[in-house]
Symmetry: C2
């Protein structure tokens, strides 16, 4: 981490971290994102460009997935006939046929949204060139994709050949979604158009190579694609600059994506690289002007915080309110681009506070999918809107029912799509949080309220009255602790349903008072008749909330404490989960939990959940049972520990959360950024360490409970349309000793 | 780097960094040092313990080397019959016969001089144990080596067997130095004694395993060594603690090393681990109380600074003034433990300023080797004392004349032992620097002056009078820039000889005034007759200092600028040297320099060398020609750049220097810490960034020229016996942007 705390640097080349860094160095502009793959390719690399909203359900696949778009990166350079490739890294003793990589540095500039790479390369001829690659997908004009290469002849007088093209033969890890692929060229521009096989989205991409030397377009008949080609000789110390400008549109944007892409390339070439870069950077500076959080006293955390915010910003749709952010953002194929609760409860709050327009886009995605949610409720025999656990473009439930085939040939039944129904309250929570922060009454009245109320209708029909106990119950649930599936009376779900119904009733009252027309409209449309509302009140009064009166603590679900106790802290220092260590069959019979339902409740409801002593008992009970088997877990624990004044635990969990992607200790970052962990890190700082909240009087307040060695945290938030800048100082700073 | 900036952490296990971390995690106490190898061993590991002063010249070897001592680390543990070893790291899906490593964390605590390692391990039986290893070679009693293992039964009820022993079959990368190896045991103690084959040093090591369960000593007949063995069963959640205490003496310390070692083990066992640890830590805290340098505003640099100071402190002889620090400290086999100019000009100054007693030990090492230096002068036809370029225990020149056999079967002639004669002025410089800082007149009069004056006698006989030019010259030299060998009139050497003779004359005047008896004694002993002193004055007046009057800059040596110019900055981002890239044969015909002779002159002589404009011209000339092919180079450049107000360049080179061992970008840290780079980093901070110096009036002054983002630097130095604590603040702090 260099001094700026704004850059992620790789020096020298670390092939063993190829896929990890390819994910970390993803660029994006809220329309698409592209992994940090090399222009010249590399064996084992996973170049991926994903465009928001372009899902497809391929034959033989259980569910649809976000589709890997054509690759706009390829620029192939030969030096005196030797192809530039990262072979024999840093072994200068060889001058093999393939050339030798003499030097390498790659830097992701978070502040500017730019990826730069410098390579020093020796051809078989002995000529040495320095190559400086730079690229960005424009944040100013999201359809523009810009690349630049500078080639400096350091030694020798090399003959340079540059070939640039669009890679159209792209798959999702071998699964092909594209049909009707047609490439072409006209004037100086090459292009491709293609269509997803099942969903029928069409996509057009076009590209031009700009050089001071003539560029010819030749047909690569083997690959069926046109290639832009130029060549020149450099004298020693001479340099050349090449620019490749590409553009992309889909049928989600315009009727004729190909034509739009070609036109956009002409426009971008006319604008020129320098101005494109300037405009792009200016947009990034605007983002950071609101979203940067400055920590004084902890440089590692400072960088980590900017890193997670960057990854949320590149994934957040900018001009589109009909798409949302998948669990792995747009940075990898993991979870197939599907949208989970991760978005609403983890990723969204940092945007709600610092970029409310982007937060609104994400909530509108859910609004546009009310029909799918109503279908799911109906299909399951319920009323109202029942949002899917995994969501794509259609709004239908897209959680696979079965896992991929396991090593022993079996498939495991996946229950989350059936039973992780708390997604409905999660969305309601996010909507009301957005509204409380932004004061966006228009959104609430026109869109938000309908979602909150219709998911409440669902819960009203979902709960089960148990006359023998004189209480409502909910059976067959999965809470955040996904190790224990299909349990009855999950304290998380039951308690959040009470919160949800209470919030829905208050919301309806507010609408009646302030927006009677909307109240009437929704009352009619959702059939919010007095009997229904009376039932909601009854549920609030009589819902079963598992609680141990003797120990004064919540019970995750009845029977939880009857299972075997495993002291999770003894399983340190581990990188694998305790579940993996004990094995699935045994661990589900124990009190080891993936993440703490009760801690999550404490994060969401705070003091509203219970008196302070109960919160402390809850922490002391569940913390030593928590495996953090989910990347979502540590940040929430950091937040809650800070809230409870547990400074050490809070910082430990914060460090854990902040390292998930940067350190890749579990080895799965290759599949994409952990979006929820990213958002959780920011919430741990703002809500946990800074104690930022809206008090009962509607005032924005902060309560510093910073890690002992932090001096201050400064940040900007929007509150009811006003920009507010805070510096939260630690009244006592402790310099840690060894 | 965790929040404390006092610890180096490995998490999880990184087998690809095994040898790098084994070097970084070396422990030491100034008597010996032991690499961070594992108690249980690991394939490809290089466990090494080196004891100061124990050199041996094995048959067939070109030169003597510091000998790898017996390994005191082995503790082998089996869990239900499965040997604890780091196999299948972090792959929990397997339960192979060899067991599985479920978790791993290793932490070097710089402040305490302690290495800790935690491992979570599953045996084939399914039992899981947590193992916590801790070790240190005592700084309080340097003959004591302490280890502790805690074993916690996390799952299952494992049968534990612990075997501890001394590994006596040790070599220097296959070269055997030990003869007459005899192991034995008595009561609870196992022991070994052995003798170096050529030099005849004997060494005794003894060890006892302390357990709450009975320890038996069994003979491992295959390995011809006694093994201490204990076994026990643990219930789930139960834990056991084992302590292994060892001791070591050599014939450099006592007449009967074995007896002394055995007695020391008994004493250590009686003292107990807890008190040994406490006393050890207390000594470390004393070290840091004087040697810690605190940087505000740059946590990465803060950690790097502590790291380099730690490695100097563990290598610095504490109770011994007859040994010195080799180029790779005691942390690896590189450079065979030989002592170069690295010690006097790079490693020593941080000790001179913060631990003057340790600095004195190192200078006394040279005093005790005056005979060797006089032999070398005589053998080469000169007068006085000519210190060897590479020095061991004997004081004779031990630079190999030939390289090891190259891949093509050839050997390369090594000229440094013949021609890098500036070592004589380097030692004189260090002595006078020590005296100026400490005011240690006793040392100067009794020991230091003799070295300064007799090396001056050497130079008086070494220079060559060229009547045709009416000047003195020196032919066939190698300066710091070792790319250009056996050149005539190296500006570095010629100018430093002028400085040396001037300093010698001043010193003699001072002795005559303040210590006439010593002046008389030395005048007689070294034959400092008037003619000789007159010649010194003549040399000072008429030495040829290559200088370009038109360009107003120093010339590294006549003819330098006639060679091919290579723009070194274009060869970025490289990890290999430009020399390696261009090849030896070509690079020596170019202006590419390994490190800048002229920049080194500027560091050593400052304003005394030339007016400011010349210093700036020198920098601008040599900086773009410098390859930094030596690890000594970047720190000196940082210092000089800071001195010239070149803030950016200064910090770039400082970062470069600070990363040499921590980042291991050249991949050679496996052979040991770069001691000179370590000392250079500290000098760059104190002399460069803080501008610390003794002014002409003998006042200690500081001139802040800190990196733009540093807020302050605080440090303690001894000046003329008084502890002085400074905080140097940056009057303007710049927060870097992206």
């Amino acid at each position: 981490m260099p001094r700026e705390h704004w850059t992620l640097e790789e020096f020298p080349f670390h092939p063993e971290r190829l896929l990890h860094l390819e994910t970390l160095m993803t660029l994006g502009n809220g329309y698409l994102a592209t992994r940090g793959s090399f222009e010249e390719g590399y064996a084992g690399s996973m170049p991926t460009t994903m465009v928001h909203g372009i899902f497809d359900h391929a034959p033989g696949m259980l569910v649809p997935e976000l589709v890997n778009a054509p690759n706009w990166l390829p620029i192939h350079i030969t030096v005196d006939g030797t192809p530039f490739q990262l072979v024999n890294p840093n072994d200068v003793s060889l001058t093999p046929k393939e050339g030798a990589l003499l030097g390498y540095r790659r830097v992701l500039h978070l502040k500017q949204g730019v990826l730069r790479r410098e390579c020093l390369f020796r051809a078989e001829s002995g000529s040495i060139v320095r190559l400086v690659f730079e690229r960005f997908p424009s944040l100013h004009d999201v359809h523009v994709l810009a690349q630049r290469v500078q080639i400096i002849a350091v030694d020798g007088e090399p003959e340079i050949v540059v070939e640039a093209f669009i890679e159209q033969q792209v798959t999702n890890a071998g699964v092909n979604h594209w049909t009707a692929v047609q490439s072409g060229s006209e004037n100086q521009v090459v292009s491709v158009q293609m269509k997803t096989g099942q969903s029928g989205y069409s996509l057009g991409m076009a590209s031009q190579l700009v050089s001071q030397t003539p560029v010819e377009i030749v047909m690569d008949s083997a690959q069926q694609r046109p290639v832009m080609r130029t060549s020149f000789k450099l004298n020693r110390e001479e340099s050349a600059e090449l620019v490749k400008l590409s553009a992309i549109y889909t049928s989600r944007d315009v009727e004729h994506p190909l034509n739009a892409a070609v036109a956009k390339v002409y426009e971008a070439v006319a604008t020129g690289y320098a101005k494109l870069l300037h405009d792009h950077q200016a947009e990034w500076f605007k983002y950071w002007d609101s979203s940067d959080i400055v920590i004084e006293g902890d440089e590692t955390s400072q960088f980590a915080l900017r890193f997670v915010m960057y990854h949320i910003l590149i994934a957040a749709p900018r001009h589109d309110d009909d798409v949302s952010i998948g669990a792995k953002t747009l940075s990898g194929l993991g979870y197939k681009g599907h949208v989970f609760w991760d978005t609403e409860l983890f990723i969204l709050p940092p945007l709600t506070l610092t970029q409310p327009a982007l937060a609104r886009n994400l909530l509108m995605y859910r609004y546009h999918r009310l029909a799918g949610a109503r279908n799911k409720a109906k299909a399951n025999g319920f009323e109202g809107a029942m949002y899917p656990w995994e969501s794509t473009d259609t709004g239908e439930e897209t959680t696979p029912q079965w896992s991929d085939v396991q090593p022993d040939g079996s498939r495991i039944r996946i229950w989350t799509g059936d039973s992780e129904q708390h997604i409905c309250t999660d969305i309601a929570y996010a909507i009301l949080q957005y509204w409380r922060w932004t004061g966006d009454d228009a959104f609430l009245q026109q869109h938000g309220a309908e979602m909150v109320l219709d998911t409440a209708v669902f819960w009203g029909s979902r709960v089960e009255w148990k006359a023998e106990h004189n209480r409502y119950e909910i059976s067959q649930q999965i809470g955040p602790d996904e190790y224990h599936e299909n349990i009855d009376n999950s304290v998380f779900t039951n308690r959040m349903v009470v919160w949800h119904l209470g919030a829905a009733l208050k919301l309806l009252d507010r609408l009646k008072a302030h927006a009677p027309a909307d109240a009437d409209r929704l009352t009619r449309a959702l059939d919010l008749n007095p009997a229904r509302l009376a039932k909601w009140n009854d549920i609030i009064a009589k819902m079963y909330i598992p609680f141990d009166e003797a120990e004064r603590r919540h019970i995750q679900f009845p029977g939880f404490f009857d299972m075997e106790f495993i002291p999770v802290p003894h399983y340190q220092p581990r990188t694998a989960s305790v579940q993996a260590i004990l094995g699935h069959a045994r661990s589900i019979q124990t009190q080891v939990i993936k993440q703490a339902d009760v801690v999550m409740l404490m994060a969401l409801l705070g003091d509203e959940l219970a008196p302070h002593d109960v919160l402390v008992n809850n922490w002391n009970t569940y913390y030593p049972r928590t495996d953090h088997g989910s990347s979502l877990s540590p940040a929430m624990h950091a937040w809650v520990a800070a809230m409870l004044g547990l400074n050490e635990e809070a910082y430990d969990e914060f460090e854990h959360a902040a390292a998930i992607d940067l350190q890749d200790n579990k080895g799965n970052v290759r599949d994409g950024i952990h979006g929820a962990a990213s958002g959780g890190v920011i919430q741990a700082v703002l809500f946990g360490f800074c104690g930022l909240k809206i008090d009962d009087a509607g005032q924005l307040t902060a309560t510093p409970r910073l890690p002992a060695h932090w001096k201050s945290v400064s940040f900007t938030v929007y509150y009811r349309g006003r920009r507010r800048h805070f510096t939260v100082r630690n009244p006592v700073v402790e310099t840690p000793l060894a």
